[in-house]
Symmetry: C2
Subunit: 394 residues, 2 copies
Amino acid sequence: MLDEYYMAKAISLAKKGWYSTHPNPRVGCVLVRDDEIIAEGWHQYAGQGHAEVNALAVLAKKNIHAKGATAYVTLEPCSHFGKTPPCSNALIEVGITRVVIAMVDPNPLVSGNGVQRLQESGVKVKTGVLEAEARTLNSGFIQRMESKRPRVRCKMAMSLDGRTAMANGESKWITSADAREDVQRLRAESSVILTGIGTIIADDPSMNVRSHKYTDVKDGVQERGMRQPDRFILDTQLRTPTQAKILSLPGKTVIATAKARQVLMQQKIQDLESKGANVLFLPIQKRPSTSSLSLQATMSLMAQQQYNDVLLEAGATLTGAMLQAGFVDELIIYMAPHLMGSEARGLFNLTGLESMKQRINLNIQDIRAVGEDFRITAKPVLVSESADKHRDTR
Amino acid sequence: MLDEYYMAKAISLAKKGWYSTHPNPRVGCVLVRDDEIIAEGWHQYAGQGHAEVNALAVLAKKNIHAKGATAYVTLEPCSHFGKTPPCSNALIEVGITRVVIAMVDPNPLVSGNGVQRLQESGVKVKTGVLEAEARTLNSGFIQRMESKRPRVRCKMAMSLDGRTAMANGESKWITSADAREDVQRLRAESSVILTGIGTIIADDPSMNVRSHKYTDVKDGVQERGMRQPDRFILDTQLRTPTQAKILSLPGKTVIATAKARQVLMQQKIQDLESKGANVLFLPIQKRPSTSSLSLQATMSLMAQQQYNDVLLEAGATLTGAMLQAGFVDELIIYMAPHLMGSEARGLFNLTGLESMKQRINLNIQDIRAVGEDFRITAKPVLVSESADKHRDTR
């Protein structure tokens, strides 16, 4: 039980990096000797010390030795030389004799190496303590490591009758200020906001974090260490206006367009890049009615760009296609207490969905009040026709 | 505090008539002397004893006198000769010296008469004890008395994205068996089910109570004393098929049609009535795109027919029109954990609703899990354009 106690402490330390560790995982570390915590550490920014190293630095500063101590770490200590030297070596060198680990590294290329390195040096290792809790610290990072695609959360705002805008496009505001503030949190904890060119042209959105809760600077340090999420625009025909508001804001904007545009639209690419955009190229995926960028390739590219957590904020077409492709891991829907009627715009365009059997099943995780609205959190269960067939045979 | 204690007991007795008192109100009565309950009564069926009379009958049977006792009644005792003699007289005659009443009679024509009759005979009267709780026993009855229209609850089943059927009409089943069982309860506690001819033709529904929970007969007595709700079909052109399943079931079916049909379709009327239907006539209300039966006249007619609680189970057109007319008092929406997509059918057709300002505001009372679905209970706040303008000036 003591192991769980100290690991819970390490997990709460890891959470201090909730808004800042991108693209690294959130990790916490507690050093314990004779049933006493002698040092704590957590990872804050990529390129700066890992949790274990930060905890050891505290010890050094206090002039306390680490011999015979136990280290509790929420993630397997690394065994490779990256921006910092390997943490497993550091733990061995200072005389740590036991290491308790919540979860092994999810990267299949290095998973278990840290444990092995420690054991080879005679350090006792225990893994799997509060593993489920530790995994929730890094859902996006783990998914990127295990599946080579980021975790995608799709945020929508709708009326109770499932409408996102009037027929004429009017949509300000479906939800209350409280719900919009909650969206600021979603953005702050995401690596990147993914949207479509339709939304850029229709709304000219900023898609940044504006809430003082995350942007305030106090004593020269930004609260919660938040970084602005990048913006990632799917723009098959490269129609993003060079005057788009999103390009004028601090932080990185990626515009992904069709490979063919690389040659055809050199001037436009140059103009967009002179505005600070980063133009990338993706293959086309032919669909029955339209051609658009391959969502599979988009996911791979986003993983390569080290995006762990993607917040999808887009219209009914892109969100519907992402859902049908099986790339939405979680839906976060703000439901406002209003009716907008059947003429108003729908939530998701789901192509080829004609019978009840084909509908997308959801696993509702949570429904709770946010101001006068309700926030519904749900996970799509099975989305493809073949998956549906599979379900019918159970 | 003792008064509240005994009134709470009377309210719980009134609830025993939840499924059976139609068209009468649910009423409970407790007789107390020397801090002891000496008799209890409640109203079960129209035409049978009122709560007070039933409590007095218990006393008589036990050969106990009522002199000096206090009567706790959830509704003002009646002072008129109806199917039974006036209860206020009965209480006076047996020597009750104090009467505690939760709420006065909501019928403006007789309200206060019972209290006056008691006071004139020297009985002490106290009113308003647990009034709010007592009013919830008879929301429909009170509304019919006060507003000359029944209370209408609109039940819908939808996917999370606000869809009630696929584009081809397929809708079996949006919700789970648990939600459908919950609808059985709504039907059982309603006086009548209101629907439209579109639903009759498309689905050929039964709209009766089939759950054993309400229909089982035990020792010769039906559980909960439930009566089947009547069915009330709005059928402007008198298109109800004489073979409609709803006509073959026990209980009363009313078909309301346009006045002009009375002369034009005598044979069809005769055929429907020979199948047991009761054909009634209503004026037409011209609308921009269509003509249909006046909903105002429908509400008046239903009140005249002594319907307290109407359950509206219909398609997007009738439910939308009822909402826009301001005649829906409560929405009960079963939301299933599925997405059906923007091609599927919407929840409510709301005509002329073009801007966000015009949307219908809801006051969400409750959201709770029912099996794998969620039941949302909401009250429309303001529905007319003029009401909306009023809101904007606040």
